[in-house]
Amino acid sequence: MDELLKLLLANACESRATIAQQLGIGVEEVERRIAEYEKRGVIRGYQAVLNEDQLDLDKVTAVIEVKVTPERGGGFNRIADRLSRFPEVRSAYLMSGTYDLLLFVEGHNLRDVASFVSAKLATIDGVLSTSTHFMLKTYKRLGVLMETNHEDERLTISP
């Protein structure tokens, strides 16, 4: 992967000047390449990685395994696209194995998610079955550990 993308993945808020200094290129070059990635749709957005367990939000997340009937011509894409458009669905993946689609769904509470599943998801043509699991605690998200950073144990000066 392009070094520039790696740096943005690690910290999208890093100043363009610091990125330029690390890559040994000019600031304009950094800006040009980022704009290019945005235009091509490689970069699709920038978000903070939160430890939501600290925020006391009225929110639950469920992971839902969905079995669907693939369609002639479109395969899974059309139905996956339809499901992805619900704002409740935060992430959606096509999977290998015993089910087809994996959805990460958010709601205010358990009932909220349950009604999304029974009233919306399950009623869609082509959805054969669903299996819902609620998330209890987050230990790591997007490569970031949720526990507070540990102290540097190194001696402050060493040879």
Partner: protein
């Protein structure tokens, strides 16, 4: 305990030990450790944790009960893996049975090498600024240290002309360390060829400390041992501390002709017995997939190096572009302060710790060592503070 009539205990300490000053690094550490909120660019070890699969395998080794002595040379399985790694990476093949010794860090390997090779009075050539222990281990082995000054003007590289000025008929060993601590200097194949030719002509033995070999940023590392005619006269030292971020495991190794490895093994056998068994198991795991672990760290060090070089340039500080290890060695001579005073003032006024160049030999005067084995945010803040500090010095 001092009884009248007998000499003081201090006088009874063996002369080579008594006469060596404590490491300058140690003195500086004592000062820094009394202070709060210090950003330290003085740390000579990776800020990365040991790769998780290596740590996990250490735990597994302990669970399995790998807590016993190993053979003196180290597990044969590990020596085979080491021989394979060195062969593939540096192009020199060693016999795992007789030409590889696993040691307690490169530190022990250096000590063993000098004790195995030096008779009292034999001279050892080495280049300064250099790792703090070189002069001391030569003296502990009753050798005579001959320091060669490398200079910023030459990118801190060693040249044949410098060697010729110092060598005498009593010179037996040449010690090398590239990529270099503290300057970050590296030597190209061409640079090494003239050193190798000199060693062959003068029939010198070479001890090459290549602990930073994987950490190069502008091209791959060449080992002097891979040059024609060098394998038979060279001892190759390497370890897991730097490239694998395994300093606390204390694991290194020596590869060389069987006669020399056997001599080192004798000392090791009687004084150390063997290196830690579970650290050896961890090293095996580290060698199972070195490239992916090291690539990530090297990429990060390279970016920090680039940042630091650019930041120094912005501050008007001259600095030879370091191409290896994780140190930069900027010139602070123009401020007219001795390196130690510069470092102390910087520490007191701005809480940034750097190591005075003089800790690495007298010719380090006028320089400070800045390690970039520290997170970029810290380096950034340190450069801001350094900028304020030198702004006041004018």
């Amino acid at each position: 305990m001092k009884t009248s009539g007998s000499p003081s205990l201090r006088d009874r300490i063996a002369a080579p030990v008594r006469d060596i000053p404590r490491s300058g690094i140690r003195d500086f550490f004592d000062i820094v450790s009394t202070m709060q909120d210090v950003i330290s660019l003085g740390i000579g070890e990776p800020d990365f944790d040991t790769p998780w699969h290596v740590r996990e395998s250490t735990v597994f080794a302990l669970e399995r009960g790998t807590t016993h002595y190993t053979s003196n040379l180290g597990y044969l399985e590990l020596r085979k893996a080491l021989a394979g790694y060195v062969g593939k990476k540096y192009g020199v093949n060693y016999d795992a049975e007789s030409e590889v010794l696993v040691t307690v860090g490169v530190s022990e390997a250096l000590d063993l090498a000098l004790r195995a090779l030096i008779n009292p009075g034999d001279e050892v050539l080495y280049h300064e600024p250099c790792y703090v222990s070189y002069r001391a281990v030569i003296l502990f082995a009753h050798g005579v240290p001959l320091a060669i000054e490398t200079r910023a003007a030459d990118g801190f590289r060693l040249t044949r002309a410098m060697l010729e000025k110092k060598v005498t008929p009593r010179t037996k060993v040449l010690m090398l360390n590239f990529p270099n601590n503290p300057t970050g200097a590296t030597m190209s194949r061409q640079d090494l060829e003239e050193i190798a030719a000199f060693a062959r002509e003068r029939d010198l033995l070479v001890i090459t400390d290549e602990i930073y070999a994987e950490l190069t940023y502008d091209g791959p590392h060449t080992s002097i041992v891979s040059l024609p005619g060098m394998r038979a006269r060279t001892l190759f030292l390497h370890g897991f501390s730097k490239a694998w971020a395994m300093t606390g495991y204390r694991l290194g190794y020596a590869c060389g002709p069987a006669e020399v490895i056997d001599a080192m093994m004798k000392i090791h056998q009687y004084t150390m017995l063997c290196a830690s068994s579970f650290a050896q198991k961890a090293a095996l795991e580290a060698l199972a997939r070195p490239d992916s672990d090291i690539e990530t760290m090297v990429a990060e060090y390279r970016r920090r190096r680039n940042f630091l070089v650019s930041a120094f340039a912005g501050l008007g500080l001259e600095c030879t572009r370091p191409a290896g290890a994780f140190y930069a060695f900027p010139n602070i001579g123009k401020f007219g302060l001795p390196a130690k005073e510069f470092a102390l003032k910087l520490l007191e006024q701005e809480r940034v710790a750097v190591v005075p160049g003089t800790a690495f030999g007298a010719c380090g005067e006028g320089f400070v060592r800045c390690a970039y084995a520290t997170r970029l945010e810290q380096i950034k803040e340190a450069m801001k503070r350094l900028g304020r500090f030198i702004g006041r010095l004018g």
